[in-house]
């Protein structure tokens, strides 16, 4: 593990084990948010049984985890260059690339079978589409070729609401498509906040993230415009009558806070003041924002049903 700073102040790391590495390959912290955006639409779409929710959660975890493992297999060359990813199982030498690829594919196969057998074929097909989109469109094609990698690649992370909705209703309607677009338009401001903070890493790895191609200021402006669209998109489910005033109020307050954070970051950058603090806030709050927005949908429908 050359180049990894080791110091007395470093927090103690748990001893590596195969089980811990397999879990790490699935990126559990990222998946937890995907599961919220899967489960909440299930309760918004109807009254699913606990069994159905558990099966969809497990299938969703395996599919997303499989996609993340295959992503680590494909990105193994740049993971070694970036400080953020250097300790992953492949660059640190704890697992071979072939083992990681086999684990990722096995997870995806198991998830497809589970969702098709216990839920329905549409749910399995949508989850598998998300897997292919993430692996081939985002990781393989766009990540290293376009500053809009996160924009279009964000569609991969927007599949979970479709999966949850289809699991309960067996179909896709305008509310499901709106939830898909909400996650789609949420992704750029969320990831560009991180990209602004990790520019050195991305530049070293040759990943053309927006701040490296468009510049910091333009990236912040783009975050603002995507958030404006996001805010109005979150109103649309209320407008078509899918959710009530509790959801509308939550969407406006939560979205307003996100917009305010981005404006604060942009103001700091314009004034030549440090903007990394507001950028960290936007990155962390955007995670909470999406989770709370989707929880508000589920709660609104539970209260008005």
């Amino acid at each position: 593990m050359s180049g990894v700073p080791v110091g007395a102040a470093a927090p103690p790391r748990p001893a590596p084990s195969l089980g811990r590495d397999l879990v790490a390959l699935t990126k559990p912290r990222i998946i937890s948010l995907l599961l919220v955006t899967t489960a909440a639409p299930m309760y918004a779409a109807g009254s699913p049984s606990l069994w159905l929710v558990l099966v969809v959660m497990l299938g969703g975890y395996l599919m997303a985890g499989g996609a993340n493992a295959v992503n680590m297999y494909l990105d193994r060359d740049i993971d070694d260059v970036m400080a953020r990813t250097r300790l992953r199982p492949i660059p640190s030498g704890r697992m071979s690339p072939q083992q990681v690829l086999a684990f990722g594919v096995a997870c995806a196969v198991a998830a497809t079978w589970m969702l098709a057998y216990f839920v329905n074929v549409l749910t399995a097909a949508l989850a598998l589409a998300g897997f292919y989109f993430y692996v081939f469109i985002y990781t393989r094609w766009l990540k290293r070729s376009s500053p809009q990698n996160i924009v279009i690649g964000g569609a991969a992370g927007a599949f979970p609401p479709l999966v949850g909705w289809a699991a309960v209703t067996g179909s896709i309607d305008i509310v499901a498509i709106t939830l898909f677009l909400i996650v789609f338009y949420w992704t750029p401001p969320h990831f560009w906040a991180l990209a602004l903070l990790k520019q050195v890493d991305y530049g070293r790895a040759g990943v053309p993230m927006a701040p490296l191609v468009w510049g910091e200021r333009e990236t912040m402006h783009q975050m603002l415009w995507y958030t404006v669209i996001l805010l109005w998109l979150t109103v649309l489910p209320w407008w078509v009558g899918a959710f009530g005033l509790l959801y509308l109020a939550s969407a406006l307050v939560l979205g307003g806070l996100l917009l305010g954070g981005i404006v604060q970051m942009l103001r700091a950058a314009r004034a030549g003041a440090p903007w990394t603090g507001p950028a960290w806030w936007v990155y962390k709050y955007s995670l909470l924002y999406l989770a709370l927005l989707f929880v508000a949908m589920g709660v609104d429908r539970a209260l008005t049903r």
């Binding site: 305008i174 338009y185 040759g206 490296l212 191609v213 998109l233 649309l236 407008w239 078509v240 009558g241």
Partner: protein, 96 residues
């Protein structure tokens, strides 16, 4: 809530999204900004690690979500106003 207010909110959403989408598209058409001296972007470009993206593809990637938005707004309007945006049928009675 009065339907005038509800429809007003819809058109406010459409207007805001058109303006935002305009600025998103403008960034794609704008020439690439020179990287500030000493920035990670300059280092990446100098080392040949960051190649300029394909312009036609960049435009396509920016236009695609905008088309999705148009599709969504038209669909939403049709749901609240089922009679709107449908072909008008004319019935004529022909006297025997």
């Amino acid at each position: 809530m009065p339907s005038v207010v509800i429809d007003g909110l819809f058109w406010a959403a459409v207007g805001a999204c058109v303006v935002a989408q305009f600025f998103i598209l403008r960034a794609v058409f704008a020439p690439e900004a020179p990287a500030p001296a000493g920035s990670p972007a300059e280092a990446g470009r100098a080392a040949g690690r960051l190649r300029p993206p394909s312009r036609p593809l960049e435009i396509a990637w920016a236009v695609l979500p905008a088309i999705g938005l148009v599709f969504l707004f038209v669909w939403a309007w049709q749901i609240r106003h089922p009679s709107a945006l449908r072909p008008v049928t004319v019935q004529m009675e022909v006297a025997p």
